[in-house]
C-alpha cells in the first residue's frame, strides 16, 4: 500500500534576485493549490540557516515525505538541500529542485508577468515529478588494496613505485624479460645528454628494491574480469597461468617506432630511422667514421604522410642526435630538414639554440613539398625545397636519418578489448576526457599513462606515471568505492538480451549475461554513472533510469503541456 503523499514547497525570494521579478507570494499561493501539496511557504533566502531550519521543521510539523525547493540552481545548492532533508529524516532523493532564478527571473527580467507564469509552470512540473520520486541508496563496495600496472617502461615503473611508496602492493607486469621499455634502445637523453642506460639503471634498481613492488617479467595478460575495487587479472607468466586480484589497473604499455618501409629510399643502412641511429651511436660509433654529410628528415610518415598526427618528440630527438654527432666530429655537416620545428617549452627551445650554435643547420620545407631522397650509383642526394628561399637545395648525404613517428603497439587492440577501454582514431588509448581527465579511462578503476596514450617525452611520461599513481591510489586509500544512487536497472522479465545497451554504455557497466531465462542485460551498480544512455536506447523499455524514470518524466511533461482546464 503506498503511503499518502505529503509534499512541501519552498519558494525562495533570493533577496530581490528572484523576488524582484517573480511574484513569489503568487507562486506560493498557486503551489498550495496543487495536488498532494500540504504545505507551501516562501523564504527570503531558503539557503540561509533560517530557511534550512524552516524546511526541517516543516518536514516534522506537516509530516512531509517529499520536498520541492524553487530557487537558484542545483549546480550549487542541490547538495545543501538534500543534506537538509536527510537531517530531518527524509531520504535525500525525495527532494526535487526547481530553478526559477536562471530560468525565470534572469531570462525574463523585463517580463514580470511571464516570469511569474513560468515559475508557476515549473513548480507544477516539479511537484508532479516529486510525487513519483522514490528513495534511493548509494552502494558501497570494498576495494582489494593492491594495483596492477601493465608495462614496465618509464611511466609504468614510475607509477608502480609511487603507488608502492603510497603504501600499497603493486604488481608490475612486463611482456619483455627486462624493464625499461623504449629507453633501453636510447643512447643519450635530451636535454641533459646523460646516458639513457645510467638513467634507467637507477630507476630499475629503485623498483626492484621496493618491497611492495612484485615484478612479473615475460608476462602477458590473458584475461581481465571484474570492476573497480575487485578486478581479477589472469596472466601468462613464463608459460604459467597466474591470477591476480587487484583494486585498480594502470595501462602503461608504451608505443613503438613506425617502420618507414617504402618511404624515402629507406633501407636500414644508408637510410635509417632515428632509433637505428641511436643504436649506432650507442655502440660507440658516435664519430660516424667515413661520413661527411648527414641529413635528417622530419615528419617522415607523420602529419598526413602515413599517420595524421604530429609525434611530438621527433624534432627534439633529431636535434639531440644531430648535436651529438656535430660535437663528436665538427667536420661532419649535419642538416635537419623540417616543417614546423617542435622545440616547445622552456628547455627544448634553449636546447634547439644550442644545437644551432654547435653548427647543426636547419632547412624548412613546406609540408606539401616534402624532401626527396635520390639514390644513384651508391650516392644519396636529399633534395629539399627551401621554403623561405623558394629554391631547391640538393644536399649530398652519406647517411639519411628519418624521424619517424611513434605508433601504437599492435597488441593494444587486444588489451583494449579485454579491459573494455577504447582506442582513439590514432589507435592510442583514449582517455576519459581530453582536457580534464588525461590519465583516467571513463571506466572507473582503470587508468593510463605514458606513450600508450600518445607520443610524449620522458619528463611527461614520468609526470603521467605519477598522475596515474595518484588517481589509482584514491580507491586504494579509501578502501571502498561508492557508486551513484542514481543508476539504471534492468527488468529481466522484459529484457530480450539484444545487447544495444551494452554497446552504448561508455562505462562498461552494462553486460549481457546468460541467465536461466536466457540472455539478459545486467547493470553493475558500482560501474554505472547514471548517464541514462542505456535507458534511452532500450527498445523494449526494460531499463529503468532511477530518479529520471519514464513515469517521472512523463508526469512532468504532461503537466507542462496539458492545461488545467483540460485536466479538470
Amino acid at each position: 500500500m503506498t503511503e499518502e503523499l505529503r509534499i512541501g514547497v519552498f519558494i525562495c525570494h533570493c533577496g530581490i534576485n528572484i523576488g524582484g521579478v517573480v511574484d513569489v507570494p503568487a507562486v506560493v499561493e498557486y503551489a498550495s493549490t496543487l495536488e498532494n501539496v500540504v504545505h507551501a511557504e516562501r523564504n527570503l533566502y531558503t539557503c540561509s540557516s533560517d530557511g534550512l531550519e524552516s524546511i526541517k521543521s516543516a518536514i516534522n510539523e506537516y509530516e512531509l515525505n517529499r520536498v520541492v525547493v524553487a530557487s537558484c540552481t542545483p549546480r550549487t545548492h542541490e547538495p545543501l538541500f538534500r543534506a537538509t532533508c536527510e537531517e530531518a529524516g527524509l531520504n535525500r532523493y525525495l527532494f526535487e529542485f526547481v530553478n526559477i532564478r536562471d530560468q525565470c527571473s534572469w531570462v525574463h527580467m523585463h517580463e514580470l508577468e511571464k516570469a511569474t507564469e513560468k515559475a508557476k509552470d515549473l513548480v507544477r512540473m516539479g511537484v508532479a515529478k516529486a510525487a513519483l520520486l522514490e528513495p534511493l541508496e548509494e552502494l558501497t563496495s570494498e576495494v582489494t588494496p593492491s594495483a596492477v600496472v601493465i608495462g614496465a617502461g618509464i611511466s609504468g615503473m614510475t607509477a608502480a613505485l609511487s603507488i608502492a611508496k603510497n603504501g600499497f602492493h603493486v604488481h608490475l607486469i612486463e611482456k619483455k624479460r627486462e624493464m625499461g621499455g623504449m629507453l633501453r634502445r636510447l643512447y643519450k637523453l635530451y636535454p641533459t645528454e646523460e646516458l639513457a642506460a645510467e638513467f634507467l639503471e637507477q630507476r630499475i634498481k629503485a623498483v626492484e628494491e621496493h618491497e611492495r613492488v612484485e615484478l612479473h617479467l615475460s608476462a602477458s595478460i590473458k584475461a581481465v574480469e571484474g570492476y573497480v575495487g575487485k578486478f581479477k587479472v589472469i596472466l601468462d607468466e613464463n608459460g604459467a597461468e597466474k591470477s591476480i586480484d587487484t583494486g585498480v589497473i594502470i595501462v602503461a604499455t608504451g608505443a613503438k617506432e613506425f617502420e618507414p618501409e617504402g618511404l624515402y629510399e629507406y633501407d636500414g643502412e644508408k637510410v635509417i630511422t632515428q632509433l637505428q641511429l641511436e643504436e649506432k651511436l650507442k655502440r660507440g660509433d658516435s664519430k660516424l667514421d667515413g661520413i661527411e654529410n648527414v641529413v635528417m628528415i622530419q615528419c617522415a610518415g607523420a602529419r598526413g604522410e602515413v599517420v595524421g598526427y604530429c609525434s611530438k618528440i621527433c624534432c627534439m630527438n633529431a636535434i639531440k642526435n644531430a648535436k651529438l654527432i656535430k660535437e663528436a666530429n665538427p667536420d661532419i655537416n649535419v642538416f635537419i630538414a623540417h616543417n614546423e620545428l617542435q622545440a616547445y617549452g622552456e628547455e627544448y627551445e634553449l636546447y634547439y639554440r644550442d644545437a644551432k650554435k654547435a653548427g647543426v643547420r636547419f632547412l624548412r620545407f613546406p609540408l606539401e613539398r616534402r624532401p626527396k631522397v635520390i639514390k644513384s650509383e651508391g650516392k644519396l642526394v636529399v633534395d629539399v625545397f627551401h621554403e623561405r628561399l623558394q629554391m631547391n637545395i640538393p644536399l649530398e648525404a652519406d647517411l639519411v636519418v628519418l624521424s619517424v613517428p611513434l605508433v601504437q603497439n599492435p597488441d593494444a587492440e587486444k588489451l583494449s578489448k579485454m579491459l573494455k577501454v577504447p582506442l582513439g582514431q590514432d589507435k592510442f588509448f583514449f582517455e576519459a576526457h581530453v582536457k580534464l581527465r588525461p590519465v583516467d579511462f571513463a571506466t572507473d578503476g582503470i587508468f593510463l599513462c605514458g606513450t600508450a596514450q600518445g607520443p610524449k617525452d620522458i619528463e611527461e611520461s614520468i609526470s603521467q606515471g605519477y598522475a596515474a599513481a595518484s588517481r589509482a591510489t584514491i580507491p586504494l586509500a579509501k578502501g571502498y568505492v561508492s557508486s551513484e544512487a542514481i543508476i539504471s536497472s534492468v527488468d529481466e522479465a522484459i529484457c530480450v538480451g539484444c545487447g544495444i545497451c551494452e554497446s552504448v554504455c561508455p562505462y562498461g557497466a552494462v553486460e549481457v549475461v546468460e541467465t536461466e531465462e536466457g540472455r539478459r542485460a545486467k547493470v553493475t551498480g558500482v560501474k554505472c554513472k547514471g548517464c541514462g544512455t542505456c535507458g534511452s536506447s532500450c527498445i523494449k523499455r526494460a531499463i529503468k533510469m532511477h530518479h529520471f524514470t519514464d513515469e517521472q518524466l512523463i508526469a512532468q511533461e504532461r503537466t507542462a503541456l496539458v492545461t488545467e482546464e483540460v485536466v479538470s
Partner: protein, 373 residues
C-alpha cells in the same frame, strides 16, 4: 682575415630561424627584394652570399637587429661579409665623395688646414679638458652647397653653445676622418690606421671629455675604437651633454612657436640607444613636440648610409619619412645627423614646393633658442 664561418659565429647568425621578421621591418626590403635573413640563410647553407650586389644595399640602420628575437647581429654580419669582398666593389652613390674622403684620410705628408671653419667669433683652444670632435662637416658644406645645406653652421653652432656655457673647446687641426664609412664598407685596415691617429692626437691635447655633434663619429668612438684600442677619455653626444645641463638648470632656452618633430638617426638611436636626450632638449624649445608614426627604436632610416647605394629605393624611404613628418603636422623636423640632413634636403630640393617642412640640425635649433646665432 676572417672566414665566413667566423663571421657567422661572431654575429650569432647561426641562431637565425628565417622567420622573416627582420626582412619585414627592413626599410629597404619594403621597396626592394633585399632580405637580411635571406642572406644569412644562404651563408648558413654554404650558398654564395652575393649572387648580386645586395650586400652593398644594406643601410646598416640596425632595424633588423632591433626586431630580431633571436639576437642575430645582421648589420655586423653584412659588414663582415663586405670586408671579405675586394675593396671598391661596392657601388657608391657619391663615389667622388667617397674617394675624396679616402684622399683626405691620410695626412702623413701634407698638412691639411682643417680649421678654416673656425670664425673669429668662436672661442676655441689647443689644450683643455673638453674637446669637440668636428668630423667631416666642413667638407660636406662644399659638396652639397647647391642643396642649401650648411653643415658648417652645425659646427659653429656647437662651439657657440659651448662658449655660452663658458667652455672653449679644444679643436684639432690634425683631426682625421673617424673612419666610419670605411669601417662599414669593409675597409678595416685603413679604419684602424685612422683610429690610431685620432686617439693619439686627442690624448696629446689632454682632453678628458670628447663631445660629438656627428652621431656616426660618436658611434665609431664609442663602440668601434674600443674594440681595437685603449683610451680613457670620455665620449659624449652634444644632446646628452645639453640634456644634463638642462637638468642642472644651467641653460636658458627661448620657446619657438612651431610644431616640431625629431628624426632619430640610426647611429644615435638604434646603434647607441640615445632616444631621450635630444627629445628632452627639443621639448624645452618647441611649443609643441610631436612624434612621427615611426620613432625611437622603430624609426625609419633616411635611406642611405656610408655614401653607398643611393637609388630609387632610398628615395622611396625618404618620401615615406617626410610623409610621416607631414602627417604628424610638424613644420620643423630636427635631425641629429648631418647625413640625414643632406639626404632629406636632397630629396626635397628635387621636389620644390611639395613639402612645407624645414629640416633643422639639432645644434642649430639649440643655438637659436639660446640666442647665440
Amino acid at each position: 682575415m676572417e672566414k665566413i664561418s667566423d663571421i657567422i659565429n661572431r654575429t650569432k647568425a647561426f641562431y637565425c630561424v628565417d622567420c622573416g621578421k627582420c626582412t619585414s621591418a627592413c626599410p629597404l626590403s619594403r621597396f626592394g627584394d633585399y632580405s637580411p635573413d635571406g642572406l644569412v640563410e644562404r651563408a648558413l647553407l654554404g650558398l654564395p652570399v652575393q649572387p648580386d650586389l645586395r650586400i652593398w644595399s644594406c643601410l646598416t640602420c640596425n632595424r633588423c637587429k632591433e626586431v630580431c628575437t633571436y639576437g642575430v647581429e645582421y648589420p655586423e654580419f653584412i659588414r663582415g661579409i663586405r670586408s671579405l669582398e675586394e675593396k671598391e666593389k661596392g657601388v657608391c652613390a657619391h663615389g667622388e665623395l667617397y674617394s675624396l674622403m679616402k684622399l683626405f684620410t691620410f695626412t702623413h705628408e701634407r698638412e691639411q688646414k682643417r680649421l678654416n671653419w673656425v670664425s673669429e667669433d668662436l672661442k676655441v683652444s689647443n689644450k683643455g679638458d673638453i674637446l669637440y670632435f668636428t668630423g667631416c662637416l666642413p667638407y660636406f658644406d662644399i659638396v652639397f652647397r647647391d642643396l642649401g645645406v650648411d653643415t658648417v653652421e652645425i659646427a659653429r653652432s656647437t662651439v657657440k653653445i659651448l662658449n655660452k656655457l663658458g667652455i672653449s673647446p679644444v679643436v684639432m687641426n690634425n683631426e682625421v676622418c673617424c673612419g666610419h664609412d670605411l669601417f662599414w664598407n669593409g675597409d678595416l685596415e685603413t679604419f684602424k690606421k685612422l683610429a690610431a691617429i685620432n686617439i693619439q692626437n686627442i690624448k696629446d691635447t689632454g682632453a678628458k671629455k670628447v663631445i660629438f655633434s656627428c652621431p656616426e663619429g660618436y658611434r665609431t668612438f664609442k663602440l668601434d675604437y674600443p674594440e681595437f684600442f685603449d683610451f680613457d677619455f670620455e665620449v659624449v653626444h652634444i644632446s646628452e651633454f645639453l640634456s644634463e645641463k638642462i637638468e642642472e638648470g644651467k641653460i636658458e632656452l627661448r620657446k619657438i612657436d612651431e610644431k616640431v618633430t625629431y628624426h632619430d638617426s640610426c647611429r644615435l638611436g638604434r646603434h647607441l640607444g640615445v632616444y631621450d636626450a635630444p627629445r628632452r632638449v627639443i621639448s624645452e624649445i618647441a611649443k609643441e613636440f610631436v612624434e612621427m608614426e615611426s620613432n625611437r627604436e622603430n624609426s625609419l632610416c633616411c635611406g642611405t648610409s656610408g655614401w653607398t647605394n643611393c637609388d630609387g629605393f632610398s628615395e622611396e624611404i625618404r618620401k615615406e619619412r617626410l610623409k610621416e613628418c607631414t602627417d604628424a603636422g610638424a613644420k620643423i623636423m630636427v635631425t641629429s645627423c648631418p647625413k640625414c640632413l643632406i639626404h632629406f634636403k636632397c630629396h626635397m630640393s628635387n621636389r620644390k614646393g611639395e613639402y612645407d617642412i624645414e629640416i633643422v640640425p639639432f645644434e642649430v635649433l639649440v643655438a637659436r633658442a639660446m640666442g647665440v646665432v
